[in-house]
């Protein structure tokens, strides 16, 4: 690749925003639904992060944040099936669950290194000029672990339970098409 091409292409999308052609999965697609979901997806994810951060004092937290983020992936799945889900989440769900669980457990263990009991927490406050007071509680790390755990769990559920339903639908549709072809032949 020449330098000139690099300069022209660096901001080109690396993948299609919306899958254009009908895939082999035979999933009945709805353009309206797919476009709406694609537009909503980042917004829902940002909202889930807001819930995660707000959780210490306001309604929210790792669990509800994780569920909302999981719902964003459910929307992608409902709109485009497992192909769409695979393009939305590139990491294997067990790894996400594992990462979340280890973050949560390590948060529980870290205070021991500072001579405090397991799961003890502390918080820091700063005044950031022009922004306001920022408060960081160590519970946030525990919540991040829970958040990841829940997201991974939802993805794993979609993968293990959802994929089965989809294959069954696919098989049924193939069966129907086969019968139709047979009738036409007759």
């Amino acid at each position: 690749m020449t330098e000139r091409q690099d300069w022209e292409q660096w901001d080109l999308p690396t993948e299609a925003w919306l899958r254009s052609e009908r895939g082999s999965e035979g999933w009945p697609r709805s353009l309206q639904l797919e476009v709406t979901v694609r537009v909503l997806f980042p917004t829902v994810l940002v909202f889930s992060v807001y819930l995660l951060l707000a959780g210490h004092h306001a309604p929210g937290g790792g669990f509800s944040g994780g569920l909302v983020a999981g719902l964003a992936f459910v929307l992608r799945y409902v709109a485009g099936g497992s192909v769409e889900l695979a393009s939305a989440a590139r990491i294997k769900p067990p790894a996400v669950i594992g990462a979340g669980l280890s973050v949560a457990v390590l948060t529980a263990l870290v205070p021991v290194a500072f001579g405090h009991p397991v799961l003890a927490s502390t918080h820091w406050e700063w005044h950031v000029a022009g922004f306001g007071d920022v408060k960081l509680a160590t519970n946030l790390f525990f919540d991040i672990g829970v958040y990841l755990l829940i997201v991974g769990l939802v993805l794993d559920l979609l993968r293990s339970l959802g994929a089965g339903i989809e294959t069954r639908d696919l098989e049924r549709e193939q069966e129907r098409e086969r019968r139709r072809a047979e009738e036409e032949r007759r």
Partner: protein, 510 residues
């Protein structure tokens, strides 16, 4: 020191997380699981020594004082059972690794087994160590959700049916558990066990009896107490051998532990309890008679498991130091022996290809080592001297005779009868499965399930780990002296309640 109490819960969870990330690399998962369980066994040993030398080891999670904060408590009983449970879990884990390696090749990995097994061990540890009723509920849920995965992995139709029974019964028990916690909180305003033990005394008699009964029902479902036992012989035998062994060895005992802990700590001494004695009597006899009627080896062992839960209830129902000493000895003995029996039964069915007693014959001639491994725990379960079952039964029977009420005499006699029935059942297994002319192995009906692999080879790790668990059972008999004095001290603590309450509530306003 107090941090040690949290490790048996946190380490397996961390290892489960890493195991999930390590996923398809079998060696990493295996090394991780084995080393973490070994580490926890060491921690449990240290906790037992510390709790036995001085006061119970208490950890206030997050530094919050009871009754508001969650406490983890390792007293003599909890530490002892934790140690035995983890040692047996370690043995079963090695068996499972050996089975996997000889069935699917040494490099094959099952992504879900190791993480779920570790989560199960975290749940079991938390159930023993928690000092908080709601946290006990959490421990049960952690344990159960891992067990749902373990029992329903690689299913075929009959196993889906069996695991559905298991899941639905367990969920019902969880629902009742949650209701019970709500009642307790509504009546007393606290869920901390040490704090509760004072406040429940102040409740009216009716409310106290209601709560005590509800707790027996909730934990009785988990412990498979007759008439709440029906799910166990239907679901446990269908699972793969290591899973059945660890469920039979541990999960029912956790239920029994919860009954012991709540009845002694919360309701205190109320003399011998005729209701619980009657339940114990029923459990022993129904289980033993059910076992005799079975043709399937694993179902027979499951009924025997139910029957021997009755012994533990019997000792508890007496509410004397001698009775509780017997219960603690019995639980320790039974965890090791029952797990060993199921492991060896797995070895037997691998060679015969069937669990049906009518169809198998002559295993003693073809596989003498497997026969020897079966004979020891079988005789121990029946209570023949000098094995561990004998030691535990003698203590229990003596405690029953000491109480000397008509009901206690009746149940003591029933305990002796059950022991004979167990011996009869074991003799039947011996005659039909181990004696006689060797018969060719029955071809595996369904090669896809992991339950009976006819003509399956038995690798050295499997024999060695089954042998290890059998030896653990023998060790209970060899160490009977120190163990029974330790159990007696633990039983004294249970009835006294003082040390536990003092250790938990010390320096807090509650």
């Amino acid at each position: 020191m107090s941090t040690l109490v949290a490790l048996p819960v946190l380490l397996p969870l961390l290892a489960a997380a890493l195991s999930l990330v390590a996923g398809p690399i079998a060696a990493v998962q295996r090394v991780l699981s084995v080393s973490v369980l070994t580490a926890i066994a060491a921690v449990a040993g240290a906790l037992l020594v510390a709790a036995d030398r001085g006061a119970p080891v208490v950890l206030r999670v997050g530094g919050y004082a009871p009754p508001m904060g969650i406490t983890l408590v390792a007293d003599r009983l909890a530490a002892l059972l934790l140690l035995v449970s983890i040692v047996v879990m370690l043995g079963v884990l090695v068996f499972a690794i050996g089975q996997r390696a000889s069935d699917h090749g040494p490099r094959s990995a099952s992504v879900a087994f190791h993480p779920m097994y570790l989560v199960l061990s975290a749940g079991v540890s938390l159930a023993y160590l928690t000092g908080d009723l709601f946290n006990l509920f959490v421990a049960f849920e952690v344990m159960l959700s891992a067990s749902y995965v373990l029992i329903s992995r690689r299913t075929n139709a009959p196993r889906v049916r069996a695991s559905m029974t298991y899941v639905i019964v367990s969920l019902t028990s969880s629902l009742l558990f949650l209701t019970m916690v709500a009642f307790v909180y509504a009546a007393t305003g606290t869920v901390n066990l040490a704090d509760l033990s004072g406040r429940i005394d102040a409740l009216p008699e009716g409310a106290k009896a209601g709560l005590a009964l509800l707790m027996v029902v909730v934990f009785g479902i988990k412990a498979a107490v007759v008439p709440l036992h029906f799910w166990l012989p239907d679901s446990y035998p269908t699972a793969p051998t290591p899973v059945t062994a660890v469920f039979a060895g541990l999960l029912t005992k956790v239920g029994v532990y919860a009954i012991i802990r709540t009845q002694t700590l919360l309701f205190g001494e109320h003399g011998d309890w005729a209701f619980l004695l009657a339940v114990a009597l029923l459990t022993m006899l129904v289980g033993a008679l059910g076992a005799i009627a079975q043709n399937d080896l694993n179902r027979m062992l499951s009924f025997l498991l139910v029957s021997h839960i009755g012994y533990m209830l019997f000792g508890l129902a007496l509410f004397t130091v001698a009775g509780l000493t017997g219960v603690i000895l019995y639980v320790v003995h039974h965890i090791a022996v029952q797990a060993a029996l199921f492991l060896v039964s797995g070895l037997v069915t691998r060679h015969t290809g069937t669990a049906s007693l009518r169809d198998m014959s002559g295993v003693a001639r073809t596989h003498p080592r497997v026969a020897a491994l079966f004979a020891l725990p079988a005789l121990s379960l029946a209570g023949l001297p000098p094995l561990s079952g004998f030691v535990a039964k003698v203590v229990l029977l003596r405690a029953g005779a000491e109480v000397a009420t008509p009901m206690a005499y009746v149940v003591t006699a029933a305990a002796v009868l059950t022991s004979f029935l167990t011996l009869y059942a074991m003799a039947r297994v011996w005659v039909s499965a181990f004696w006689g002319e060797p018969s060719p192995p029955v071809p595996d009906v369904d090669p896809t399930d992991e339950v009976t692999v006819g003509t399956g080879v038995t690798s050295k790790p499997m024999l060695a780990s089954a042998g290890g668990v059998v030896v653990a059972g023998l060790a209970v008999a060899a160490l009977a002296g120190p163990l029974s004095t330790l159990s007696e001290r633990a039983a004294t603590d249970l009835l006294d309640r003082g040390p536990y309450r003092a250790a938990v509530l010390e320096g807090s306003s509650g």
